[in-house]
């Protein structure tokens, strides 16, 4: 048991210390090609998405909820609703040229919750803003596109050779704070991810496993 705890602690320590990896440019390749491929992993157009969300929360708590997201990739807007499994709305917020919270019941009304949720939604569903600052390969030969965040942080979009897609968010001190994984072959024919794993590191670590229940394309 002690050995397992040591390994777990070592893994957590390694993750908490994960830093921005170096990118190796691909010589002779079209520099715009990787960025184009990286951009394709995000749902395009306007969608109504319903997920079940299994959450591993601080303190060993485990919870299952439903998440409804109505998003527009063009406008970079979203309306996100968290519901109990019975459909009772505990949080309803919107980002459309600013954040607006329509409903937030305890504990979803805590300071910073809405902003944090919307940052996670952005990382999961939207291509980072602006052009890629850097593209190339990681040491394991995964394709990577690096974007600078306005907050001084960085988002890496990584396409693993296994087919898994990852969005890695680093804070301005280049510490890894979010990992979003979409496993290989986990997309609908429209390219909407069917399974999404989000792991948050930092003071409030948590893990979300989102399973797509419904994807409704909406009029643009």
């Amino acid at each position: 048991m002690k050995g397992r705890l040591f390994v777990l602690a070592a893994v957590l320590l390694a993750l908490s210390c994960a830093r921005l990896p170096k990118i190796v440019p691909v010589t002779g390749a079209d520099p715009s090609e990787p960025a184009e491929v990286c951009g394709r992993i995000f749902p395009a157009g306007k969608w109504q998405l319903l997920h079940s969300i299994e959450a591993d929360l601080p303190g060993g708590r485990h919870s299952v909820m439903m998440g409804l997201t109505v998003l527009s990739s063009r406008r970079r807007s979203n309306r996100s609703v968290i519901m109990s499994l019975e459909g009772f709305v505990v949080f309803d917020g919107e980002v459309n040229q600013g954040l607006k919270v329509h409903r937030a019941l305890p504990p979803f009304d805590s300071p910073g919750f809405a902003e944090g949720l919307m940052e996670d939604i952005r990382l999961i569903f939207f291509k980072p803003e602006g052009p890629a600052a850097e593209c190339g390969l990681l040491t394991d030969e995964s394709t990577v596109c690096r974007y600078k965040n306005p907050d001084g942080g960085v988002v890496d979009i990584v396409l693993r050779s296994t087919g898994t897609c990852e969005s890695l968010r680093y804070d301005r001190k280049q510490r890894l704070i979010r990992i979003v994984k979409v496993p290989a072959d986990s997309r609908t024919s429209d390219g909407v991810p069917q399974t999404i794993e989000l792991t948050a590191h930092g003071k409030q670590s948590y893990k979300l496993v989102m399973t797509l229940l419904e994807a409704v394309p909406l009029d643009p």
Binding site: L50, S84, L85, E86, F88, L213, V216
Partner: protein, 206 residues
Amino acid sequence: MTNAKMAVPLKSIAVLAAGCLLIGWGSNWEELKSAAASVTSLSADFVQEKHMQILARPLVSSGVFYFQSPSSLRWEYRAPVRNILLMHDNRTERYVETGHGLIKETGAGLQAMQIVLEQISQWLGGRFDENPMFTANLEPGPKIVLTPKEKSFTRMIHHIDLVLSERPGVIDSVFIYESEDSFTKLVFKNAVLNQPIDAALFRKVS
């Protein structure tokens, strides 16, 4: 308040609907209470629609429930996410389907179930007008309108309409209004009244 607690009012109303699905309506509270006394067991399928202004189409879930007098209940969502509430012998349990199978919820969720259990005897006894959480009005239609007594509770539920069928004792639908542009509709069908129900259904999830 925890997420699980938020689910309590909805479950309570669902239980209420279960209770009065086939209890023979009267024109006043006394007749309604009298009719409720004849219910020994009840089972039915249900379809639930979540309506919100932002939705292109409502979110639909479905399931089945079983009730055995005086206070045993199995309320089971089967789709899209399997989720089972069991109440029996003064114990309440909730199970949710996850990637690791059905897991039992603990802590605050259980506490919340206890609240449901306390309410169920009132609903199933037809004592709609004695519930500590809601003020009940019997209105033409016929329908029962439940309004939260505490103002803080209206943040969660604005009001609830129980629409009664023309068929005596049958409820057509339940509308739970959370806000002006968000409500949940429950519709019941295939109701079976006063038939034996295997007691294991209230103790085990499978």
